[in-house]
C-alpha cells in the first residue's frame, strides 16, 4: 500500500513551521506507523533532504516517548493505543494522513514533530516522589496495602507521561497527568507523609508551567493510550481542597523547616 503524508516541519521553536507533503513508497500494511516514517526518512536521506524528526524509544507502548497527532488525534485512531503500536493496516491505500506534533504552549517544538516535555519533569520534581530510608530496603509486605487502594493506585501508575492529554485538551490542561501522579502516591500508605505537600506543590508547578484548567470535556481520557480515568482529576481536586484547608488551619512547630 501507499499513503500520502502531510507532515509538520519546523526547524526549531523560533522558526515558523508548515506542512510538507510526502508520498511513501510501497509499504507493508503490517508496518507500524513509526516504521513507515523510518522508511520515508531513509528515502529523504538518500535524496539529500533532512529526515523528519520524531520522538520514539521502546516502540512497545510503554515508555511514553512517542507522540504525534495523527489526523487530528493524539496517538492516532485507536482507543488506548500509543502511536508506536499503531499499524498501517488501520489506514487505507491512498489515504492522506496528517501528522502534527503535540501542540500546547508549555510543549515548545524542538524540531519537526519533537516537542519539549520537560514541563512534566519539573512537575514530577515538585512532588512526584516519596521519602524512603536508605541503606537497606524494607521488608516486602511490611506495610499492608488494601487491595482496592493497590488496584486504583496501579490504574493511576499506568500513566506513561506522554502528554497526549495536554495535546487533546482545548485548554492545554495537564490535569489528567498530574491527577494520575498525585493519586498514584496519595492512594498508598507510602505516599501519606507528603500527601498534602505533594498535591499543593505539583499543582503550583503545573500552573507555573502555563498549563490550562480542566473544563470537563474529558478529551484527555479519551485519547490516553493507557486509558487513565478522568476521575483522577476529581480525586486530585478533592485532595487539593483538603490540603489547602488543612494547611491554612494547621499550627506549625516553631522548629519546623519550610516543609509543609
Amino acid at each position: 500500500m501507499k499513503v500520502k503524508l502531510k507532515v509538520w516541519r519546523q526547524k526549531d521553536a523560533n522558526t515558523p513551521g508548515g506542512f510538507n507533503e510526502y508520498e511513501t513508497p510501497d509499504v507493508n500494511p503490517n508496518m507500524s506507523f513509526l516504521e513507515m516514517l523510518d522508511v520515508v526518512n531513509d528515502e529523504l536521506t538518500v535524496k539529500g533532504e533532512e529526515p523528519i524528526a520524531f520522538d520514539h524509544d521502546c516502540r512497545e507502548g510503554i515508555c511514553g516517548t512517542c507522540s504525534l497527532v495523527i489526523n487530528g488525534k493524539p496517538h492516532g485512531p485507536h482507543r488506548g493505543v500509543a502511536t508506536c503500536q499503531t499499524y498501517l493496516r488501520s489506514f487505507h491505500d491512498g489515504d492522506v494522513i496528517t501528522v502534527e506534533p503535540f501542540r500546547a504552549k508549555p510543549f515548545p517544538v524542538i524540531k519537526d514533530l519533537v516537542v519539549n516535555r520537560k514541563a512534566f519533569d519539573r512537575i514530577m520534581q515538585a512532588g512526584g516522589f516519596i521519602s524512603v530510608r536508605t541503606g537497606s530496603g524494607c521488608d516486602a509486605n511490611a506495610i499492608p496495602v488494601p487491595k482496592e487502594a493497590a488496584e486504583l493506585a496501579m490504574d493511576a501508575a499506568a500513566c506513561i507521561g506522554c502528554g497526549a492529554c495536554v495535546a487533546a485538551c482545548k485548554n492545554g490542561s495537564a490535569m489528567l497527568f498530574v491527577g494520575a501522579k498525585v493519586s498514584q502516591f496519595g492512594l498508598l500508605p507510602q505516599g501519606q507523609p507528603e500527601r498534602e505537600q505533594r498535591v499543593l506543590a505539583m499543582v503550583k508547578q503545573m500552573d507555573a508551567e502555563g498549563f490550562g484548567n480542566c473544563t470537563n470535556y474529558y478529551e484527555c481520557s479519551a485519547v490516553c493510550p493507557k486509558l487513565i480515568s478522568h476521575e483522577f482529576i476529581a480525586r486530585m481536586n478533592r485532595d487539593y481542597l483538603k490540603a489547602v484547608l488543612r494547611t491554612a488551619f494547621t499550627p506549625t512547630s516553631t522548629n519546623a523547616s519550610a516543609a509543609g
Binding site: 526518512n41 529526515p51 524542538i110 536508605t134 541503606g135
Partner: protein
C-alpha cells in the same frame, strides 16, 4: 556497582544470575530481582552519601578528554557525506550477526563474520550519509554514533564467541554437542567471565579472565530432558 564509582549495572544489564544468556525471561527475571532486592540496598544508599557540591566538574581533565573525543566523532560522522543512510549499515550488520553469531554458531561462520564486520565498518566510515549539523537535535547523528559503536562491539562479540570454544547455555557452538544434542561445556578451560579491555582503535582487545567460583552451588550439566 561497577568499577566506575556511582555507575551501577542493574536490571537487564546485570548478567550475574544468568550469565550472558538473554533468552526467554532471563532479562525480566534479573530486572525483577534487582528491582525488588538489590536496588533498594544499593543506589539509594549511594545517593544518600553524595553531596551535590562534590560532583565532578565539567572542567575536569577527564571530562574535557571525553568531550573532545565525542566532538571528534561527531565531526567525522558529519563529514563523511556518503550515499547510504545509517539504517542501511545497521541492517547489514544485523544480518551478519544473525547469520554468523546467532544462538547456534560455529568457528567457520564466526571467522566469516570477523572478516565481514571490519570491511563493513570501513565502508561505513566512507559511505555513510548523516544529514544536518551537530548544533541542534539531529536524530540521524544520534543513530550514526550508536551504529559506529555497534560496528566495534559486533566484532568483539564474534571474537569472544570464537574464543569460547565450548557450548555454554544458549551460546551454542555447533562443534560442541553431546550424544543427546545438549550443550557440551568445557569447564576446565572456560569457567570464567571474559572481560575484554579496549586497547584503542585498530588494536586487538585484551582478554581478562575472571574465574567463576561457586561456593555453595556446584556447576552441573544442563539437561531439560
Amino acid at each position: 556497582m561497577s568499577n566506575v564509582p556511582g555507575l551501577y549495572v542493574l536490571g537487564e544489564a546485570n548478567f550475574s544470575d544468568h550469565g550472558a544468556n538473554r533468552l526467554g525471561a532471563s532479562a525480566l527475571m534479573q530486572g525483577l530481582a534487582d528491582g525488588y532486592f538489590v536496588l533498594p540496598n544499593t543506589i539509594g544508599d549511594y545517593l544518600a552519601t553524595q553531596k551535590p557540591a562534590a560532583r565532578p566538574k565539567t572542567d575536569a581533565f577527564e571530562f574535557q578528554q571525553a568531550e573532545n573525543n565525542v566532538r571528534g566523532i561527531v565531526t567525522r560522522l558529519l563529514g563523511v557525506k556518503g550515499k547510504q543512510p545509517v539504517s542501511h549499515f545497521h541492517k547489514r550488520l544485523g544480518k551478519i550477526l544473525w547469520n554468523g553469531c546467532g544462538m547456534a554458531r560455529n568457528a567457520v561462520g564466526l571467522r566469516k563474520a570477523l572478516a565481514e564486520i571490519p570491511a563493513l565498518r570501513e565502508e561505513y566510515w566512507q559511505n555513510v550519509n548523516v544529514p544536518g549539523d551537530g548544533g541542534t537535535l539531529n536524530q540521524s547523528l544520534e543513530r550514526a554514533g550508536r551504529v559506529a559503536d555497534f560496528l566495534e562491539l559486533a566484532e568483539l562479540l564474534c571474537l569472544d564467541a570464537l574464543e569460547r570454544d565450548e557450548s555454554c547455555g544458549c551460546h551454542f557452538r555447533e562443534e560442541h554437542v553431546d550424544a543427546e544434542g545438549e550443550c557440551l561445556r568445557n569447564d576446565e578451560q572456560f569457567a570464567h567471565a571474559a572481560a575484554w579491555e579496549y586497547q584503542g582503535e585498530g588494536r586487538a582487545p585484551l582478554l581478562n579472565k575472571e574465574p567463576l567460583v561457586y561456593e555453595t552451588v556446584h556447576m552441573a550439566k544442563r539437561n531439560y530432558k
